[in-house]
């Protein structure tokens, strides 16, 4: 299983250690930037990956469907300890927020009609729009290179948000155009 071995010479961490490190990141990554927490945890603190590996795995995570945080957990866990590593890393990442958000569902059923909680959550939703735009601009600055990329990006957004085209159709059509535009030449 040469695929799953870490590129560094350091011995692979135990499965328990992998679960614990991802559990701590899953429980402490407040503020909505899990990727930043992953980088400081995996590259800086644990040294399980170097920056080049991290960027490579992140680009796979962003290309494939799935949340960046869970895709990264799967890829890093697999690289360290094969499929059990991937499974435990993902469970660790998801357990804290999964439990919190399940509890939030029940709590909202009890207190969600209170106008003060609604006002608080509405304010957060508006602020979150600003945060999403930041994440989007950062993603865009990495993947948008030429005029054609901007046309494909805006065309996809206009089709979905402006004309109500279903996301899968937009994804298939714009994806095919984008891949064809960047096809290998020569």
């Amino acid at each position: 299983m040469s695929d799953a071995s870490p590129s560094a010479a350091a011995p692979a961490p135990s499965l328990g250690r992998i679960f614990w490190v991802f559990l701590v990141m899953g429980a402490t990554s407040l503020g909505g930037g899990v990727v930043g927490y992953l980088r400081s945890g995996l590259v800086t603190r644990e040294r399980w990956l170097d920056d080049t590996d991290f960027v490579e795995l992140l680009s796979i995570s962003q290309t494939l469907p799935g949340l960046n945080a869970t895709n990264m957990s799967i890829l890093v866990g697999d690289r360290l300890r094969g499929w059990p590593g991937a499974l435990l890393a993902t469970l660790g990442m998801c357990l804290p927020s999964g439990a919190i958000m399940t509890a939030a569902g029940f709590a909202y059923g009890v207190g969600g009609d209170d106008p003060w909680s609604k006002a608080f959550l509405h304010g957060i939703a508006a602020g979150a729009v600003g945060l999403i735009v930041v994440v989007m601009v950062q993603l865009g600055s990495k993947v948008l290179h030429g005029l054609a990329d901007y046309v494909i990006m805006l065309g996809t957004a206009a089709a979905v948000a402006g004309f109500g085209v279903n996301v899968p159709y937009a994804l298939l059509a714009a994806g095919a155009i984008g891949i064809w535009w960047h096809r290998p030449r020569g």
């Binding site: 290309t63 494939l64 949340l67 890829l75």
Partner: protein, 179 residues
Amino acid sequence: MKQLDDIAGVFAYLSLLTVGGGMAAFPELKILTVDVHHWLTFPELLHFYSLGQLSPGPNMMMVASIGAVVAGIPGALVALVAFFLPTGLLTFGVGRLWRHLSTWRWRPAVENGLGSVSVGLVLAGCIIMGRGAVTDILYAALAAAVFLLLFYTRTNPAYPIIASGLLGLAAHWWEVHAT
């Protein structure tokens, strides 16, 4: 059981659309949970997104809240498994394959081509969310302020997010006391 089947179907489908991040699936999330299944209202969906913002971990873990609202703990579990298992298996498989494809001529085409599309999908999700959340000039100014702060400084997003909630409370206080 019918409800659990619906939850499984909806979230497994949505998970396959999250290219570039959870926001890419937001337009379909709104259509399916609000307009098709009537599990919750659009403002409630936004409130769960806000709760996800306050919780550690990925925002889209709010699918557990929606599952819990519809069918209790089993609903939350089914929503989580459906949302993470299909893409998880895909990522696991492709992740192993991808290294063998490092010299594949089409690999940069796939990464670059899907890259622009994924930014477009995130933008669409952001616009649809903005239609519900940015309801007047105050909230538009708030969203713009959060953007500028986070884009130009290295502030932890948790602070402006909490401040946004407090501003929402202040706006409500104003409505109650000044009118």
